[in-house]
């Protein structure tokens, strides 16, 4: 809301410097956005919150100033003198849609002389409108009738509309719902296709205004107009908002109706408008007013218990000051007692209907600066959640291994969504509105997003692109809320086993003892044979694999990529964040290296399991050393697996013979189970 400094002076004496007023208003709830000089005047831009439509007019802002500075407020009486025939002989109004328009009033003035507005009126409007104009365009006044209706809107916050009565077919008004696809030629000379649910002001034949949003071109006041009908009405906020939004037709009028003007100000604005027209354009006001629809019910009184102020604000406020503030804001005191004050709120403050609303009013006028900032808030124990601890350890491990954390959008486009979804076959959940260009699907895996980021970095010639993200995926469940599961995902330019090693490091950092297991996982997303499904303690942990060429092409990726995605939930379940110390043997360890020649089909995990099973109590570690393949020396289809067992006794030095016994047991078991031949 832009207010004019000179205009405000009509209602309240302004003797303070403008900067001080701006500051004071800001500290009372009207945020100061800026001030421009316009000719001899100042245009002060104030941000008005949606609960304060009363401040969308100069009178409302003047009232706030009067309360803040304890100044008198002068409100024009608005008492036009009627000298014409009774209005019922001139026009009629039918209200067919009271759900869209709760009240409609009309007054008629005959014989007006449409002409340019006087300078004072133009100056007022110019201060408000000039700074809102786009660069390079200047605001121009229309004519005295239209300018007056705008003036009263900016004065009171109540939108008005003036029709050329002659141009209304059958000289009457019908307030009704628009028909589907009904055409309407607006005052901006554009034709709009209306919709049911929108409120039109029609004459006997056609819509002449889109109620509360914009007038029509056919009935606008022109130089030839002599008789005008002044509309002052109340429209349903949601219907107005929907119509303005659907037609992209936002006006000063729709803005105010969306927030709800003063219901008792409807008639005042109408009288004020007629008074000014009679004064500036002449004519004869018809006797009476057409007023259809329902009047708003009287406001219910509110009780403010004095102790509530201290209970909520932490400071006590003197009762006389409380009464002064509430009264000056327009509340009508009903009963003032020592411990309670009962007031009837004013019609223009629909936001005041509970005790807490009065507490806020008193507080903001009294001043939040009076609330102390050095209170003694009692201490309270708080502990870090298990999830936060685990995520921090995961993050520390990944950054220590050279991975950078990224944050990517939760929604992706169709192609990205479809490329990899190992957690769910169900269709992804779709947003009503895309989040980013084309990205309307909630992601079922983080990996495709990481590949997109990789692509971005490749195009910037960034050499090392090691990425991870910790975020949720959204797994659809038919007929129920989707499951949100937090995943840890990695995308790396390193090899499969490097990435697997990083995952193993995460498990170690979390104190997870369970063995990471990998099973073959075939998917078009992974290079054939190079994808694995990971599990821990018999539960699915995630996926790891080399991205296939086809999938890489989809993301336009040049380099090889290995990706992994694991469930944070399972890590949370298995993490051992408070490990217990175990006694350490003080005797030396003995190592034995074993080199087994096996068929290619024998997997390390199987052989290691056998070793572990038969190695006995002395085994401290079974370490994988390498896999050796050589067609000439080993023959085709063969490989050798080299491992080391570390042996140690708790209560004495392990002898060479004892170590050799273990070695022999391992050798025998591996021969029996895997046809493994121990090489020299």
């Amino acid at each position: 809301m832009i207010v004019s400094w000179n205009w405000l002076k009509q209602y309240v004496p302004l003797e303070m410097p403008v900067a001080e007023l701006e500051e004071r208003l800001m500290m009372a709830g009207l945020n100061h956005e800026g001030t421009d000089a316009v000719a001899e005047d100042l245009a002060i831009d104030l941000e008005v919150t949606s609960n304060r439509p009363d401040c969308l007019g100069h009178l409302g802002v003047a009232r706030e100033i009067a309360v803040l500075y304890d100044l008198p407020l002068a409100i024009p009486e608005a008492a036009p003198v009627a000298s014409g025939p009774n209005i019922s002989t001139l026009t009629g109004v039918t209200l067919e849609s009271p759900e869209l328009c709760s009240r409609y009033t009309a007054r008629v003035i005959q014989g007006v002389k449409v002409a340019p507005s006087p300078d004072w009126l133009i100056e007022r409007l110019k201060t408000v409108y000039a700074s809102k104009m786009k660069k390079g365009t200047a605001w121009t006044p229309v004519n005295n009738i239209v300018d007056i209706s705008n003036y009263v809107l900016l004065e009171s916050g109540q939108p008005l509309h003036a029709f050329d009565l002659e141009k209304l077919h059958s000289r009457r008004i019908i307030v009704r719902q628009a028909e589907a696809k009904e055409p309407f030629l607006a005052i901006n000379h554009k034709t709009y296709s209306l919709d049911t649910g929108m409120c039109v002001i029609a004459d006997a034949e056609r819509p002449v205004a889109l109620g509360g949003v914009m007038g029509g071109a056919d009935t606008e006041v022109s130089e030839k107009t002599t008789d005008v009908l002044i509309e002052s009405a109340l429209f349903d906020p949601i219907a107005i908002r929907t119509a303005a939004r659907r037609l992209a037709l936002h006006s000063d009028s729709s803005y105010r109706f969306e927030r709800g003007p003063d219901p008792e100000g409807v008639d005042w604005a109408s009288r004020r408008c007629c008074e000014l027209i009679l004064e500036l354009a002449g004519g004869e006001l018809a006797e009476g007013v057409i007023d259809v629809g329902s009047e708003s019910p009287p406001r219910e009184p509110i009780v403010l218990r004095m102790h509530q102020l201290e209970r909520i604000l932490g400071i006590a406020i003197d009762r006389d000051e409380v009464v002064r503030i509430l009264t000056a804001l327009g509340n009508d005191p009903q009963q003032v007692e020592a411990k309670r004050i009962e007031v009837r709120p004013p019609s223009w403050r629909a936001d005041l209907y509970r005790e807490i609303d009065l507490v806020e009013e008193v507080a903001r006028i009294h001043g939040y600066d009076k609330i102390p900032e050095d209170g003694r808030v009692p201490m309270r124990a708080s502990s870090r959640s298990r999830q936060d601890r685990v995520v921090a350890r995961v993050g520390r491990t990944l950054t220590a291994t050279g991975f950078d954390e990224v944050v990517t959008a939760s929604a992706v486009d169709e192609k990205t969504s479809a490329v990899f979804s190992p957690w769910s076959d169900a269709d992804p959940i779709c947003c009503d509105t895309p989040m980013l260009r084309g990205a309307a699907l909630l992601r079922r895996s983080l990996i495709p997003s990481l590949l997109s980021v990789r692509r971005t970095n490749e195009s910037l010639s960034n050499e090392r692109i090691e990425l991870f993200e910790v975020a949720r995926v959204y797994l659809p469940i038919s007929g129920a809320l989707p499951v949100e599961e937090t995943m840890v995902a990695l995308a790396s330019g390193n090899g499969f086993f490097e990435v697997k090693g990083v995952l193993e490091a995460i498990l170690e950092r979390l104190g997870i003892q369970e063995q990471l297991e990998a099973a073959d996982f075939e998917s078009a997303f992974f290079r054939s044979g190079k994808g694995g499904e990971l599990s821990l303690a018999g539960e699915r942990l995630g996926y790891l694999g080399e991205v296939s060429d086809t999938a890489r092409k989809m993301f336009d990726l040049r380099g090889e990529v290995v990706v992994a995605e694991i469930r944070l939930g399972l890590l949370l379940q298995l993490a051992n964040l408070v490990p217990q110390a175990s006694p350490l043997s003080s005797y030396p360890a003995v190592e034995r290296d074993l080199n087994f020649e096996v068929q290619e089909e024998v997997r390390w995990a199987e052989l290691a399991e056998t070793v572990d099973r038969v190695a006995g109590d002395y085994v401290e570690a079974i370490e994988y050393l390498e896999t050796y393949r050589d067609k000439e020396r080993l023959g085709p289809g063969k490989k050798s697996l080299v491992l080391k067992v570390v042996l140690r006794k708790a209560d004495g030095t392990l002898t060479g013979e004892e170590a050799d016994d273990v070695r022999k047991r391992i050798e025998a078991a591996c021969r029996d189970q895997h046809d493994a031949v121990l090489r020299a």
Partner: protein
């Protein structure tokens, strides 16, 4: 063996040994020479020593004396050669060492600046006694609006201002469902109060979503931190004090805060919070006293408890702290950008 013969051999060995020891060019070849001459098992000197046994006993003292002299001579030559070569190595490596060359730095990754900011906010609020609470990103209208006192007519509920989700896929005739991506982390307040009796002292952090067109200051997804403190006697002075402590912790110096009146459906009174910083006031976020309607929606008695809530935008705090001028950088994830933090 005759003494003469023995002495000739001994002299010959001494000469050739001295010569080859003096000629050794490096430590490795010196070691080879040492083994050949002085090796304990099969060195040439050892072999010659065995010849002593065959000398007549009368001549043995002479032979023994000469042998010892020869041995000492060879050992001295070896020691000299060794010192010569070791010194040369030391000199050589000192000449070829440049301590100003860069170290072998391990490659470290970086946490995203948003994560770093969130960690810091959680830390500060934990010290002020706030525990972290978590909630879903996909919410129903009760948690996102109704229980937060946001009436159906409130502009914030316009479907075009929210990410409502569809009931089914396009093929099955999609319709707008009653589910949406949360537009604020205040939803977690409701979930916590629904399940926990007072007192409550929590912060919740996470992603929130609003359909804004992405530009330098807007992104359709961003992060919020939301705090809630409910007890029998919480006042606005407590709110101001807690926020002041937070700001002082965050900036590492004693700062002042101020309240400007504002409007949020879920708090009353509602305020904007500014903190004093470098001769000016900077906006922190919104706050207020929990609206009685919110308490009633979660089954708390507003006559028995009071509380405050506040919400801060993580991107804004983070951008200001690190001098980031375009919040889209956060989501582009150029690793060169990430490496700066």
């Amino acid at each position: 063996m005759a003494l003469d013969e023995f002495l000739v051999e001994l002299d010959g060995l001494t000469d050739s040994a001295t010569e080859s020891l003096n000629a050794a060019l490096d430590v490795d070849s010196l070691e080879a020479v040492r083994i050949d001459l002085l090796g304990a098992k099969s060195g040439r000197l050892k072999a010659l020593q065995k010849g002593l046994a065959a000398i007549d006993s009368a001549e043995k003292p002479v032979a023994g004396k000469r042998f010892n002299e020869a041995k000492q001579k060879i050992e001295a030559a070896y020691a000299a050669a060794k010192e010569r070569l070791t010194f040369a190595v030391a000199q050589q490596s000192a000449a070829g060492f440049d301590p100003t060359e860069p170290g072998c730095k391990p490659i470290l990754g970086h946490l995203h600046p948003i994560t770093q900011t969130i960690e810091e906010l959680k830390d500060i609020f934990a010290r002020l006694g706030f525990s972290v609470a978590d909630g879903p990103e996909i919410e129903d209208e009760r948690h996102n609006f109704e229980a937060l006192n946001i009436a159906r007519s409130h502009p914030a509920r316009d479907p075009l201002d929210n990410f409502y989700l569809q009931t089914a896929t396009k093929s099955a005739g999609a319709e707008r469902s009653e589910w949406l991506l949360r537009s604020q982390t205040s939803t977690v307040q409701i979930r916590v109060m629904d399940e926990t009796p007072p007192p409550v002292r929590i912060v919740s952090l996470g992603r929130v979503y609003r359909p804004d067109t992405a530009d330098a200051t807007h992104y359709p997804m961003f992060h919020q931190i939301e705090g809630l403190l409910v007890d029998t006697d919480v006042t606005m002075a407590d709110l101001k004090s807690v926020l002041r402590m937070f700001c002082s912790s965050y900036l590492g110096e004693d700062v002042h805060v101020r309240f400007r009146p504002s409007f949020f459906p879920f708090t009353e009174p509602s305020v904007e919070v500014d903190m004093r910083w470098q001769d000016g006031w900077i906006e922190m976020g919104g706050a207020g006293m929990v609206d009685p309607n919110v308490f009633e929606a979660v089954g708390y008695d507003p006559e028995k408890v009071t509380g405050f809530a506040f919400g801060l935008g993580v991107e804004r705090l983070c951008a200001r702290r690190y001098g980031i001028t375009d919040i889209r950088e956060f989501f582009k994830n150029d690793v060169r950008f990430l490496h700066q933090f």
